[in-house]
């Protein structure tokens, strides 16, 4: 097969490619992958420290960094058209809006629901007898 003739590094010029075609170099892909693996290990390690309240924020921060590099390099956002980036990022704005306002509200009436009498809670439906 003749493909390997074309497997030149993307640092080389791609003058023969259409202008919307931006191949990412293999080196960059591998770098990104090992960064992602490193961050995954990091998040498990950080979780082991037992930072208490900060735990969740640390985990989310690391997850967001991972998400950002996946978006930028694997999903080619780095080279993407402005409009497409705005379209995708705007979804996060609406998600924030949705979750934010909903949470703001439930905090206000939650007390009344926490008073739900626990002994009125229905018995669990048994799928398999635990004691057999």
């Amino acid at each position: 097969m003749n493909e390997h003739e074309h497997a030149h590094d993307s640092h080389g010029d791609h003058g023969d490619l259409p202008r919307y075609n931006h191949p990412v170099s293999v080196k960059l892909l591998l770098t990104v992958f090992f960064c992602l693996v490193g961050l995954t290990i990091l998040t498990v390690v950080v979780n082991g420290f037992g930072l208490g309240q900060l735990d969740i924020w640390a985990a989310l921060l690391i997850a967001s960094v991972k998400a950002a590099i996946v978006c930028l390099f694997f999903m080619h956002m780095f080279w993407e058209k402005g409009f497409n980036i705005i379209a995708f990022i705007s979804s996060l704005f609406f998600v924030t809006l949705f979750i934010g306002l909903t949470l703001m509200d439930t905090r206000a009436y939650r007390d009344s629901q926490d008073k739900f009498p626990l002994d009125k809670r229905p018995e669990p439906t048994v799928v398999r007898d635990a004691n057999s």
């Binding site: 409009f83 705007s90 979804s91 609406f94 809006l97 949705f98 306002l101 909903t102 703001m104 509200d105 439930t106 905090r107 206000a108 009436y109 939650r110 009344s112 629901q113 739900f116 009125k120 809670r121 229905p122 439906t125």
Partner: protein
């Protein structure tokens, strides 16, 4: 004055070798498997019309039952099922797809001078999803019925024995149909505009469809997940909406209205787009305040996401949040009023022809005005506590959805019918249908404002004698409205078979879809379209030979000095 051969091609009924889209191929399969946006639009139109008539019959059954305050022929349980099915089918299967999917599908690519939407297969897929979704709703109706109201509120929807699972499945699938339509239109408008058609040279109908698509894309997935959770709640009892397991029943309302309030704008925004077109074309005057109307569509779409909590004023929602939602609700009135004032300003000193589409457009302004203003009453916190769940609410949203969307849909159909089928309808009968719809509608829903304000709750099968007179007027009105809608469709269908043939541009409209033959060629245009301002009617001149309006580019001056002028093509 004579015309060039291209004019005959563009505006006369000369068509390409494949024929027009109606006769390009024959047989049921050529319709069911078509990828042509025009045929898909027609199939949608047939589908939503059937849904409209079905749900309309439910409405008449409801109104008949309410003729007296005691039992006539429906039990309370049957009554609950009737209003639920009326609401669910009207909302999910009719109004949401009506203007965008039926009319929009036909008109949108042609307004862009394009051959089709960006993803024709996805478009056909949307239609079949619509068909399946509606099928599920019908299965729900034929098995155990549905008695939750179209909103599926928990906890009742978890407990009732009616066919909630089928219905949620149906609404879920219809949601995907809607998402795909929105996605398709958004991409089409973004990438398939002709190079010289910048954003601010698009017809306003496209702006409104664009705004609608934004809502469909951002809001509808949340409906999907809500219904999926409800489905899981029914199937497995996961407890997310059940306080017994630490869940939260009000959460459902948040989820539901995060979609369903924006969905209200999915229903009205395309209608507003139609009205922008009708006002300008039939007043033969450039639209007033183009940019304001365009931006107000987007503003309504975005503000629509910030007001869902006004459906929850009586749910125990926090006071702070209620205040915020109430304030933002008022602000929606601003872009809506911007539109109405600009339409009125468009009429000012226009040369108005009171043809059927214009009659419907004028009805729209009146009815939408009332519907919109009463929305402000309901957005007011203290007033809403009094009016919540009364007939006032029912009347309000019917003024917007029937008075607004249905009227605009009919107006749009009368406007584009000659383009769709190449035949003109009987304009007098069209106006009669408009009068019947307008009168019947007001007769039905005006009394409901009064009885609502006096405390008649919605969704009750029985009522006190003091409300009887209002209910009776309302019932009579409902039948007049029903007759009006039937007359309108009868006039339209009759025109297909017996109406006189028309040329490409009977109204003298300037947007691109009128530069094709009527009915359009299979590929929409047989010739490159001439780009011009969609609201500059001076470029269109009447041509007696072709009996239609043609672009001035194509007229040959009396002194035949010039050779055939080359049109500025794209």
């Amino acid at each position: 004055m004579s015309t060039t051969p291209q004019a005959a091609k563009l505006f006369g009924n000369a068509i390409g070798e494949k024929g027009n889209y109606l006769n390009a191929s024959r047989g049921i399969k050529s319709w069911l498997l078509t990828l042509d946006h025009k045929r898909i639009g027609i199939m949608y139109l047939i589908g939503v019309t059937v849904a409209l008539l079905l749900a309309g019959v439910f409405a008449l059954v409801l109104r008949s039952e309410l003729f007296t305050g005691t039992k006539m022929f429906l039990t309370e349980a049957q009554y609950n099922q009737m209003f639920t099915l009326h609401g669910a089918i009207m909302v999910f299967a009719f109004i949401i797809p009506s203007v965008p999917a039926a009319l929009g599908n036909f008109v949108l690519p042609m307004m862009l001078g394009a051959k089709d939407v960006a993803f024709p297969r996805l478009n056909l897929c949307s239609f079949y999803l619509w068909l399946f979704g509606t099928g599920f709703l019908l299965v729900a109706m034929l098995t155990n019925g549905l008695d939750t109201g179209w909103t599926f509120y928990t906890p009742y929807s978890i407990k009732t024995t009616s066919a909630v699972m089928y219905a949620t499945m149906g609404a879920f699938i219809l949601g995907f149909s809607s998402i795909f339509t929105g996605l398709n239109f958004l991409v089409t408008i973004n990438t398939m505009r002709p190079p010289t058609m910048t954003w601010f040279k698009m017809p306003l109908f496209l702006w409104s469809l664009y705004a609608t698509s934004i809502i469909q894309i951002l809001a509808t997935p949340v409906l999907g997940i809500t219904l999926l959770l409800l489905f899981a709640e029914r199937a497995l009892h996961i407890g997310i909406f059940d306080p017994a397991y630490g869940g939260d029943p009000v959460l459902f309302q948040h989820f539901f209205w995060f979609y369903s309030h924006p969905a209200v704008y999915i229903m009205i925004l395309p209608a507003m787009g139609i009205i922008s077109e009708l006002m300008s074309v039939h007043a033969h005057k450039k639209i007033f305040g183009y940019a304001f109307i365009a931006f107000s569509s987007v503003a309504i779409a975005l503000l629509g996401f910030l007001v869902w909590g006004h459906h929850l004023f009586a749910s125990g929602q926090s006071t702070l949040l209620s205040l915020i939602f109430s304030a933002i609700t008022f602000s929606v009135a601003i872009p809506s009023a911007v539109k109405v004032f600009n339409w009125l300003a468009t009429l000012y000193k226009g040369s108005i022809s009171l043809v059927t589409p214009m009659c419907y457009a004028l009805s729209f302004i009146f009815l939408f005005g009332i519907g919109g203003l009463t929305g402000l009453f309901l957005g007011t916190l203290s007033v809403d506590i009094h009016l919540h769940d009364t007939y006032f609410v029912v009347a309000h949203f019917h003024f917007v959805m029937v008075g607004g969307t249905l009227t605009a849909l009919l107006g749009g159909l009368f406007h584009w019918w000659p383009k769709m089928f190449g035949r003109m309808y009987n304009d007098f009968m069209g106006r009669v249908s408009c009068f019947l719809v307008f009168a019947g509608f007001n007769l039905t829903f005006f009394p409901q404002f009064v009885m609502g304000a006096r405390g008649m709750p919605r969704r009750y099968a029985r009522y006190d004698p003091e409300f009887q007179i209002f209910h009776q007027v309302s019932t009579i009105g409902a039948f007049v409205l029903g007759i009006g809608v039937v007359v309108a469709f009868a006039v339209l269908v009759y025109a297909i078979y017996r109406g006189p043939k028309v040329g490409g541009n009977p109204w003298g409209a300037a947007s691109l879809e009128w530069q094709s033959s009527s009915p359009p060629d299979y590929h929409n245009f047989t010739h490159k379209v001439v780009m011009n301002d969609p609201y500059d009617y001076s470029v269109m001149v009447y041509d007696e030979d072709l009996d239609t309006y043609i672009h001035r580019e194509f007229t040959v001056p009396e002194k035949p000095a010039r050779t055939e002028p080359e049109p500025t093509t794209t």
